[in-house]
């Protein structure tokens, strides 16, 4: 365990060369968090379990989107395209043969005969999404900022129009029914943990570091020799694969798939989770998914009326949307970095706890127009694990402790 003394610490993401366990700690903690919440849900009623399954599926999609958006800092409204491709691919390859031939008589023969298991179907979903991501990369990665956002939105709309009208394959706006809706909490958890592992692996790869460099300052990164478009393409492909798998799971969760299921609403929900959680860290994506899922489920129950404990409620359609929108708005106004403020949950090496650095200002949804919040003591920082396995390497990151860095930038 002789780590070279690389002092670069990126608010939680330890440098290449830091002890492996410390580097992957955010992923491990996120996975444990997911396991804990899923375990709790298993005790609950059938409705609760279904909600938990939905939360896990959303988690795969959110983490998939994060891989590109979080690392590159480019806001994308197009990731639901990959979810849509994955969802329809899984739907078409896992519906029972007889039902498929009755539903979609115009399918080409080989596809009509095909009936795969879930893992194979999800793999195909992911790979198809990667193909689509290639086209996507060609069309949008030349663009920056707002033009990129609008272009990805335009692609989402185009794909949705195609899905809504391609009767022979997607049954148009009628949608596909009869997808085996057998997804359980236990069957979904491994996929989310897998997605977290992929995201972590990318985050710790050279390409991930280069991409985050370009997120902080594209001009400086390019001057340092980072080929931004190439690294964005790599992230997009990985991101698309995970989103495609998430889409496949989503189809299996829903059981019936219409074009509206994979359109703007899902896009907004994904972005809501990312921004409220903290779009600049993997932990943010996971925490956001858990937080918003639980909140949305509570609100759904309030909206539907009935009894919530001792309180009797009348149905109020619109409440869920209202409160979720308010959550997003308040996050943007009061805590622009989201719950995690761009940090990772993790094992903080001693000597670093006091020297936390502020989030830099650029990037999606993380500007801090007001003075920064006094948040020196984030509870994660003092997790008891902090001095377990790495106790023998306490000094590795010491030089970082009094980094004067980011305190100089205050927004006007």
């Amino acid at each position: 365990m002789t780590s070279p003394r690389t002092p670069v610490l990126e608010r939680g993401v330890l440098a290449r060369g830091a002890p492996a366990l410390a580097r992957t700690a955010p992923a491990v903690i996120c996975a444990l968090l997911v396991l804990a919440v899923s375990g709790l849900a298993l005790i609950g009623s059938e409705t609760t379990q279904r909600t938990a399954t939905q939360m896990l599926v959303m988690g795969v999609i959110t983490v998939g989107t994060y891989i590109f958006v979080g690392n590159s800092g480019v806001l994308s409204f197009g990731h639901v395209v990959f979810v849509a491709v994955g969802a329809y691919a899984t739907a078409l390859t896992t519906i029972p043969r007889d039902l498929k031939q009755a539903l979609l008589p115009a399918l080409p023969g080989w596809l009509a005969e095909l009936e795969l298991g879930l893992p194979a179907a999800l793999l195909i979903s992911g790979l198809l999404s990667v193909l689509v991501a290639g086209a996507f990369a060609l069309l949008t990665l030349r663009l920056d900022g707002m033009a990129a956002g609008i272009a990805s939105l335009a692609l989402l709309i185009s794909v949705n129009v195609v899905i809504s009208n391609w009767d022979a394959v997607t049954r148009g706006s009628q949608g596909i029914v009869g997808i085996p809706a057998d997804l359980t909490v236990g069957a979904t958890v491994p996929w989310l943990i897998g997605a977290i592992a992929v995201a972590m692996a990318y985050q710790l790869s050279r390409s991930g570091f280069r991409l985050r460099t370009s997120r902080e300052d594209p001009v400086a990164a390019a001057a340092l020799g980072v080929r931004i478009r190439r690294d964005r393409s790599i992230a997009l492909v990985i991101s698309a694969f995970v989103c495609g798998v998430g889409g496949g799971l989503y189809a299996r969760f829903l059981g019936a798939l219409t074009p509206g299921d994979v359109y703007l609403q899902l896009t907004l929900l994904t972005l809501l989770m990312l921004i409220v959680g903290g779009i600049r860290s993997l932990s943010g994506a996971v925490v956001g998914t858990l937080f918003i899922s639980v909140l949305a489920e509570l609100l759904r129950r309030i909206e539907a009326g009935g009894e919530l404990g001792p309180i009797e409620l009348h149905p109020h359609p619109g409440v869920q949307q209202l409160i979720l929108a308010l959550t997003l708005l308040l996050t943007l106004l009061l805590r622009p970095g989201g719950i995690t403020s761009g940090r990772e949950l993790g094992l903080s090496p001693p000597g670093w706890i006091g020297g936390r650095r502020r989030a830099p200002r650029t990037g999606p949804a993380v500007d801090e127009p007001e003075a920064d919040e006094p948040e020196a003591d984030e509870p994660e920082a003092d997790e008891p694990e902090a001095d377990e396995p790495e106790a023998d390497e306490p000094e590795a990151d010491e030089p970082e402790a009094d980094e004067p860095a980011a305190h100089s930038n205050s927004a006007p």
């Binding site: 609008i150 907004l268 929108a325 943007l332 622009p336 500007d367």
Partner: protein, 293 residues
């Protein structure tokens, strides 16, 4: 020949409506870099306000609708956008997304999700023959009112002190402030004008579709974005140009696409936009901005 002329008239009318919407969004974008997704919700509120005040004479209804929409626009500015002024475009965009969802949720809560029908400007339903073309009276109204508004806006921006300040702010917000332009006043005026455009767009939109839903703001706002991006970011006349080009593209595709491809018309329009952006990332008439270091 007359078919082509008829299509051109239709495109002119549609383009005028698009231009009204696009200008409302472009005005805010040029001054504070905000892509206002909630603009669609202003149009939606305008639509509902039309129904609330439908019993009054039309002129009063129009004034009240404009007052409600402008009031909502100013409230959005004061309560939300002022706090994030100067943040990155993405933050502003997401803030407007949140506002849009918020307003939609509110309307959903009080008005319900079911579509409502609205009969506005029913007297303009007929069409008249002009040089062998049949043109709806409503089309005349849209084209005429938009032309007047465009000219009025151009006059306002060139001839009044406030308009000149707005143009200065659009050029370089920081320098303009340093030279004594009052940021709050300029931004509030921009929201006010934008709201007025939204109100007028709402009246024409509801008059031509006749129905209202809480989600009705989405399509206009998308059209507005596309028109702006197509024309060129940051220039008002380019946004209007983009709107007319988009309308022309839409109408021509509708008229001349073969039957089998016709359902995919929107997909082609939006793909075309991605293509235009690929080769002209700053829009047809846009100018590349300087790289900020």
């Amino acid at each position: 020949m007359s078919a082509v002329a008829q299509n051109l008239v239709n495109a002119l009318s549609l383009g005028s409506l698009y231009a009204l919407i696009a200008l409302g969004i472009a005005l805010l974008f040029s001054i504070m870099g905000l892509i206002n997704f909630a603009h669609g919700e202003l149009i939606m509120i305008g639509g509902y306000a039309l129904v609330w005040f439908a019993a009054l004479p039309f002129a009063m209804t129009a004034v009240l609708v404009a007052a409600v929409v402008i009031g909502c626009g100013l409230a959005m500015e004061r309560l939300a956008f002022r706090s994030v002024r100067g943040a990155s475009g993405e933050t502003l965009l997401m803030t407007s997304f949140a506002l849009s969802l918020l307003v939609q949720g509110g309307v959903l809560l009080f008005e319900g999700a079911n579509p409502k029908s609205a009969d506005v400007l029913g007297s303009l339903g007929a069409s008249v023959e002009v040089a062998g073309l049949s043109v709806g009276k409503l089309d005349f109204a849209i084209i005429g009112v938009t032309a007047v508004l465009l000219l009025g806006l151009a006059w306002f921006l060139r001839a009044t002190s406030l308009g000149v300040q707005m143009r200065a702010a659009a050029e370089d917000f920081r320098t303009a402030r340093a030279l004594g332009v009052r940021a709050d006043l300029v931004v509030a005026t921009a929201f006010g004008v934008s709201g007025a455009f939204a109100a007028i767009a709402a009246i024409f939109l509801v008059a031509s579709t006749g129905s209202l839903t809480p989600g009705m703001g989405l399509r206009p706002v998308l059209v507005g974005f596309v028109a702006i991006v197509l024309g060129g970011l940051g220039r008002l006349w380019a946004a209007a140009l983009g709107a007319y080009v988009l309308a022309l593209l839409t109408v021509m595709l509708q008229a001349y696409l073969p039957g089998g491809v016709a359902p995919y018309q929107d997909a082609l329009v939006y793909l075309g936009i991605v293509m235009i952006l690929m080769f002209r990332p700053h829009g047809i008439a846009g100018r590349p901005g300087a790289v900020r270091v």
